[in-house]
């Protein structure tokens, strides 16, 4: 099985777990963005291009189950996945808490993007203080889960010397 196939399988599983399991495991009334975390991890380990593609696919899969406009999560995850890949190239040290920090930062950035684009697309539910409160709690939840997701993605992508071009079929 190629890395691209393994990553595709991970994206499918993450979407199913997000839709079927995490609605039962809400923290402060919110669910985490597993797809966003996977995009963050792939962007971090594999660069901006892979992060953007992973984010798009995971977000699109999640969007199929949401009533918010199709493409909203996909766009958000893709941009955040890309951005984290760009930021990663400037990092010299990788402390242990980095995945949690990136999860928190990515969760907040992704949430704000989701709200911003959602407002432009006419999604009423994201407006107001409630929207900010929701993404803040979701970002905290993302930070908690980020170390596990980063570990999982690293295993799926393979050994460090092969960690490039995740979506390449070579």
């Amino acid at each position: 099985m190629t890395r691209a196939m393994r990553l595709a399988a991970l994206v499918v599983i993450v979407v199913i777990v997000q839709v079927a399991v995490f609605p039962h495991l809400r923290l402060f009334g919110v669910v985490p963005d597993l797809g966003l975390l996977v995009a963050l991890a792939v962007g971090y380990y594999d660069g901006p291009e892979a992060g953007a593609i992973t984010g798009f696919l995971a977000g699109f899969g999640f969007d199929l189950f949401l009533e918010t406009p199709l493409g909203l999560s996909a766009l958000t995850y893709a941009i955040v996945g890309y951005a984290i890949g760009v930021v990663e190239s400037g990092l010299f040290r990788t402390p242990r808490w980095l995945p949690s920090f990136l999860g928190l930062l990515g969760g907040l950035a992704g949430g704000l993007l989701f709200i911003g684009i959602g407002v432009l697309a006419g999604v009423d539910a994201v407006k107001g203080l409630h929207g900010i409160e929701t993404i803040s709690y979701a970002a905290l939840y993302d930070a908690l889960l980020a170390p596990f997701v980063f570990f999982l993605v690293k295993r799926v992508l393979g050994t460090p010397d092969r960690v490039r071009d995740a979506w390449s079929v070579r």
């Binding site: 979407v15 199913i16 997000q18 839709v19 079927a20 399991v21 995490f22 609605p23 039962h24 495991l25 809400r26 923290l27 402060f28 919110v30 669910v31 660069g47 901006p48 291009e49 953007a52 593609i53 798009f56 699109f60 899969g61 999640f62 969007d63 199929l64 189950f65 949401l66 009533e67 918010t68 406009p69 199709l70 493409g71 909203l72 999560s73 996909a74 766009l75 893709a78 941009i79 890309y82 989701f114 684009i117 959602g118 697309a121 006419g122 999604v123 009423d124 539910a125 994201v126 407006k127 107001g128 203080l129 409630h130 929207g131 409160e133 929701t134 993404i135 979701a138």
Partner: protein, 330 residues
Amino acid sequence: MAGARRASRRRYVLLVIVLTCLTLITLDSRNGRSGPIGTLGGLAHRVVGPIAGAVDDVARPVGDWWSGVFDAGKLKRENRRLEQENAALRGKQTSADEAIRENNDLKAALGLHNALLVKNVTGLIVGRDPGNFDPTLTIDKGSESGIAIDMPVIAPEGIVGKVIDVWKGGAKIQVLTDPQFSVGVQTPGHGLSPATTGIASGQVGSHDLAVQFDAGTAVRRGDHIVTSPQSTLFPSGLPVGTISSVDVQPGNTGVDATITPFVHLGALQYVTVLLWSAGTPGSVLPTTTTTTTTTTTIPAGFGTTTIPSGFGTTTTTGGLGTPTTRGLGG
């Protein structure tokens, strides 16, 4: 050189993704999910539906435990409140029994069918609000059962929402607390003040509905609110909730009220979809008897095996009389 080409390719990929997403968002906002995208969504639901249903059985107790861990303080307060409420309800039991007897007598006298006269489908909830801004329920019955978009969804306690998406083997329900949801409602009327109608809507970040009535409307905390005869979405007389707060606008230009729904969405496992739409001839219950001088209208006296209890019965006497509502929830 290679680095520059790679950076250029990255930007190109991002640009393609962004443009694709913006196109999808625009198409979805304008046209809804039809065509290939709608088919893909239906397929995704069909694949994940059974998994979600199976997970639901296992995860519900885990989810309850999880909620208990993180909401312990809230649960204690809730428990105290429920104990007080229970004591008050016991006190009301006697008068409620009397009201039920009277209600049954009235129904028998008028020869009403104590049943829903509209076809309905009961579905198991297999998924609920997967996202943080998406208050929906997914059930295991769909187009093969006759379910269509905009059909009303109810539970024994009251209205739940409406169908917003349907596919073979499943349907998605927009719940009544969704900010995009609105429904025509009616107050019970007090004394000489007649029943008044309004439009209730979900609110962002709240489990209550907001409604605005005309100035001078007699509405009190605890009033039972039902769907109005003017509602195009629901048959009239279905229980919605109780008035939880009333606020007269400055200058007495109107009355703002909030309605706490009868249904507890988190506790629902099954819901009933009424195969009904506005304009369906001979649909739900309204039984009208016309005499030479007066008209008696008895909308809905629901309560069958699928809709066991409590659906409101509204009686209006003589065309000018004061409507009274007795029903659900009390």
